[in-house]
C-alpha cells in the first residue's frame, strides 16, 4: 500500500494521491484481461491501453497517459477499485452491498455524490433501516479516526453504514443506544420492546432504540445477518434465479421424532390445512419473509406469500412445531354444542379471538368498555357465562362429563427437550411417539 504517494496528484488534495494512484495501478494491471464495470471499460489492444467512460473514449495510451485519463475520471476508477478490491467479494455480500446503495441506478460520479450528500442513501430490509454514506474517517469522530491517509480510496472517503430500526430512521443515532460490534445484533434480535423472547427473527416485532454506527461493509452484512439470519444469502440466490425452495410436502416428509406425526396431516384431500397454517404463521403481519414455498412444486397455496424483500425458502421450525400441535388438534371431529349467548356476547367472543389473533390485546385500554376484548368485559362474560370453566356450563367432552378440552398434554412436550438443557440430544421428547 502507499506505493503511489510520491506521484503527482493531478486532481485534488494530497490526501487523494496514494489511494487513487494505487487504484489506477490496479486497473492497469487488469487491462490485459479487460475490465468493464459501471460504465468504465479498460483493456489493452495493439495500440496500447484503452479507457472509456460514458461520453469519452481514449485509445493508444501509454502508462502515464493512462494514469492521467484515469485521474480525470477518478470516480469511475475509485468505484471499480472499491468494488473489486475493498468490498467483500463473496457474491451474496457484494450483491447486497450494491443493492443497499442502489449502485446499479447511477454511474460512479453521481453515485459518489449521492453517497456524500446529507444522509447518503438509505434502504429498508425488513424492519431494518440501512444507511450508507461516503465519509472521511478522519473527520468523523469515533473509532474511525486515525485511519491512514494512504488508504486506497484516495480521497479518504469510505463507505460507512448506520443500521437502525426503520421507526428510528429519523432519530439521530446519538439519541439511540450505540453499538459497534455487529455480532451484538444476534442478542438484540432475541427480545421485543416488551422484553419478550422472539423465537422468530423475522417477526415484525424487532425492538427499537439501538443504532449500529460507522460499520464497515463486511460488518454491516454481519449485523444484518445477526438480526435476520440467512436472509442475505437466500435473497441473493433468488436474484440469481437459484433459490432452492423446499415445499411443505417435502419438508413434512423428512420430519422424524415428535414431528413425524405431521406427515399424517396430509391426507390427499387438498391443501386447505396448509393454507390455514400459512395464513396463521406466514402472513406479513407475522413474518417479514416472503413465503416462496407452496404445498408442493405443482400446487400453490391459496393465500398470499407476502411482500417481503427477502424470501422464505421452506417451512421454518416454528411452522413445523405449530403444525405438530395442529395435526393432533385437527384429528378431532367437530361436534354440535348448544350455548345461550346474547348477540353482543357472541360478537364479544369473536372480538376476543380477533384481538388475540391480531396481537391487539395489549393495546386495549384499561377502561375502554366498548371494546369486547377489554379485560373487565371479558371478566364479566366469564362471571356470567362460565360454570366450572365451561362456557355456559356445557362440558367440552360430553363423554367424560366435562373438564378440560381434548388437548390435554402439557406444553413442555412441544419443545421436546427444547429448553436446550441437553435433554435435547438424548432423545427426550424428540424421539418419543
Amino acid at each position: 500500500m502507499g506505493v503511489g504517494t510520491e506521484m503527482v496528484d493531478r486532481n485534488g488534495s494530497n490526501g487523494e494521491t496514494g489511494g487513487l494512484a494505487e487504484a489506477v495501478a490496479s486497473l492497469r494491471a487488469v487491462a490485459d484481461e479487460g475490465a468493464d464495470f459501471d460504465g468504465l471499460a479498460v483493456r489493452r489492444d495493439g495500440e496500447g491501453l484503452r479507457l472509456s467512460v460514458p461520453g469519452a473514449e481514449y485509445r493508444g495510451l501509454g502508462t502515464e497517459e493512462f494514469a492521467a485519463r484515469a485521474h480525470e475520471h477518478a470516480a469511475y476508477v475509485r468505484e471499480w477499485y472499491v468494488w473489486h478490491q475493498q468490498m467483500p467479494q463473496e457474491p451474496a455480500q457484494w450483491d447486497f452491498l450494491r443493492w443497499v446503495e442502489r449502485a446499479d441506478e447511477c454511474h460512479p460520479p453521481d453515485r459518489r455524490g449521492r453517497l456524500t450528500r446529507g444522509g447518503g442513501v438509505a434502504r429498508e430490509w425488513g424492519q431494518l433501516s440501512v444507511q450508507v454514506r461516503l465519509a472521511d474517517p478522519e473527520r468523523e469522530h469515533g473509532r474511525d479516526s486515525g485511519e491512514g491517509s494512504l488508504d486506497a480510496d484516495g480521497d479518504r472517503r469510505r463507505r460507512r453504514y448506520t443500521l437502525r430500526h426503520v421507526d428510528d430512521a429519523d432519530m439521530p443515532a446519538v439519541q439511540l443506544e450505540g453499538y459497534t460490534d455487529p455480532h451484538d445484533a444476534r442478542r438484540l434480535r432475541k427480545e421485543d420492546d416488551r422484553g419478550r423472547y422472539r423465537p422468530l427473527s423475522t417477526a415484525p416485532t424487532l425492538q427499537r432504540g439501538w443504532a449500529f454506527v460507522g460499520l464497515e461493509p463486511a460488518e454491516l452484512v454481519r449485523a444484518v445477518e445477526g438480526f435476520y439470519p440467512a436472509t442475505v444469502t437466500n435473497w441473493h440466490h433468488e436474484r440469481e434465479g437459484e433459490l432452492d425452495v423446499t415445499h411443505w410436502e417435502e419438508t413434512v416428509a423428512r420430519q422424524t421424532g415428535i414431528y413425524g406425526i405431521v406427515q399424517t396431516w396430509n391426507r390427499g384431500e387438498g391443501h386447505e390445512h396448509v393454507d390455514r397454517v400459512a395464513e396463521a404463521c406466514c402472513d406479513d403481519s407475522q413474518c417479514l419473509k416472503r413465503r416462496e414455498w407452496e404445498y408442493d412444486a405443482d400446487t400453490p397455496l391459496s393465500v398470499d406469500g407476502g411482500d417481503g424483500v427477502f424470501p422464505c425458502r421452506e417451512p421454518c421450525s416454528l411452522v413445523v412445531a405449530a403444525a405438530r400441535r395442529w395435526t393432533r388438534l385437527e384429528a378431532e371431529e367437530s361436534r354440535t354444542y348448544e350455548f345461550e349467548l346474547t348477540p353482543s356476547e357472541k360478537a364479544q367472543v369473536e372480538e376476543i379471538v380477533d384481538a388475540v389473533a391480531d396481537g391487539r390485546v395489549g393495546e386495549v385500554r384499561e377502561a375502554d368498555f366498548a371494546d369486547g376484548a377489554n379485560r373487565y368485559r371479558a371478566r364479566f362474560l366469564r362471571a356470567k357465562r362460565f360454570e366450572d370453566g365451561d362456557l355456559c356450563g356445557v362440558p367440552t367432552d360430553r363423554d367424560e362429563g366435562g373438564g378440560s378440552g381434548g388437548d390435554t398434554d402439557d406444553s413442555a412436550g412441544e419443545e421436546a427437550g427444547g429448553d436446550g438443557d441437553g435433554a435435547a440430544d438424548d432423545g427426550c421428547g424428540e424421539s418419543e411417539g
Binding site: 421454518c316 429448553d419 436446550g420 438443557d421 441437553g422 438424548d426 432423545g427
Partner: protein, 291 residues
C-alpha cells in the same frame, strides 16, 4: 484454503437461554482469534441448520455439535438438515468415541468436517472439573469432596448415560475427588437419592447439560431437595444444606467458558488449522457469560 467453524446447537422456541451457550462460546472463539470465521446454527432457532452452511463464506467448514451425547440429534437430525451423506456407523463409535468424518453437503459447494459432539470429547472432563472449581470458588476443590456428574439418562438412548459415566470414570481415575458418582434424572442411579451415594460432607453437583433450562433450573434442584416444587426457576442456595451435606449445585456445565476450548479441540482433531485455546483458562479474561 479458508476455514470456518460452525457450532450447531438445539435452541428453543420458548427459552432464550437455550441458545446462549452457543453464542457465548462463538464470541469467545472469535475474540480469541482462534479461527477466521465462526458461526452458529440451531435446530429451533435461526439460522436454521438447513440455512446455515450457505451463510458460511469459507470452503472448508468444521461442524461441531454443541450436544452432550451421541444419538438422535448428532447422528440423524443434524446430518439430515445439513444435507450430509452421513450414517451413524461412519463415526465408528460405541457411544463415546465419535471423531469426525469429511463429507460434501448436497446443496452447497463446500467440504464439511462433521465432528462428534462436545459432550463426549475427553476435554469435557476438564470442563466438568473446572465447573466444580468455579461453583465452589476453590481451584483446589476435590480432596474431601464428592462430585456428582448428572445426566438426563433415558432408556431410549443408552448413549445418553454413557457420556456421563465416561466422564465420571475419567475424573474418578484422577483421584482428585474423594468420591465421584454418575447420577441420572430418568434412570438408576437417580439424582433424587443424591445424598445416599456420598459420605463426603461437601457434594459438588455438575449437570452434564448444554444450557440452563427447565431440567437444570427446576427439575434437578427439586429432585435433590434444593428447592421446593414450583418455587421458581433458579431459586436455591449455593451451597445448600441437604441431609447433613453441603450441596454445591453448578447448573449446566455447558455455560462454562472453558467449553469454548472443547469446541476448538473437536475442530482441531478433525484437522482444522487453529488455535485450540481461548483465554478461558485465564481468570476473568474471557468474555463473560454473554450479557
Amino acid at each position: 484454503m479458508s476455514e470456518a467453524l460452525l457450532v450447531v446447537a438445539h435452541g428453543s422456541h420458548l427459552n432464550p437461554a437455550s441458545s446462549a451457550p452457543a453464542q457465548d462460546h462463538a464470541d469467545r472463539i472469535r475474540a480469541a482469534g482462534a479461527v477466521g470465521e465462526v458461526r452458529e446454527a440451531h435446530w429451533k432457532e435461526e439460522p436454521s441448520l438447513r440455512n446455515s452452511l450457505r451463510t458460511v463464506v469459507a470452503e472448508e467448514v468444521y461442524v461441531v455439535p454443541l450436544f452432550v451425547s451421541e444419538g438422535y440429534f448428532t447422528e440423524e437430525v443434524i446430518p439430515r438438515e445439513l444435507r450430509l451423506d452421513f450414517e451413524a456407523g461412519d463415526w465408528d463409535s460405541e457411544g463415546t468415541g465419535a471423531g469426525s468424518v469429511t463429507v460434501e453437503p448436497a446443496d452447497v459447494d463446500k467440504t464439511v468436517h462433521y465432528c462428534g459432539p462436545v459432550g463426549t470429547h475427553d476435554a469435557m472432563s476438564d470442563v466438568i472439573v473446572r465447573r466444580a472449581e468455579s461453583v465452589t470458588g476453590d481451584p483446589g476443590v476435590g480432596p474431601g469432596a464428592g462430585l456428582a456428574v448428572v445426566g438426563h439418562g433415558t432408556k431410549r438412548n443408552e448413549n445418553s448415560a454413557k457420556a456421563v459415566e465416561y466422564h465420571a470414570d475419567r475424573i474418578r481415575g484422577r483421584d482428585r475427588f474423594a468420591e465421584v458418582q454418575a447420577l441420572f434424572m430418568d434412570e438408576e442411579p437417580e439424582v433424587d437419592d443424591l445424598t445416599d451415594y456420598f459420605r463426603s460432607d461437601d457434594i459438588v453437583v455438575v449437570p452434564l447439560f448444554i444450557a440452563d433450562g427447565y431440567h437444570t433450573q427446576e427439575d434437578i434442584p427439586e429432585d435433590i431437595g434444593l428447592s421446593e416444587d414450583g418455587s421458581g426457576r433458579g431459586e436455591y442456595d449455593v451451597p445448600a444444606r441437604v441431609d447433613g451435606h453441603d450441596i454445591w449445585y453448578a447448573g449446566a456445565v455447558g455455560t462454562e467458558p472453558l467449553m469454548a476450548d472443547v469446541i476448538l479441540e473437536r475442530a482441531a482433531d478433525a484437522g482444522a488449522d487453529l488455535e485450540t485455546r481461548t483465554e478461558a483458562d485465564a481468570p476473568e479474561s474471557a468474555r463473560g457469560g454473554g450479557d
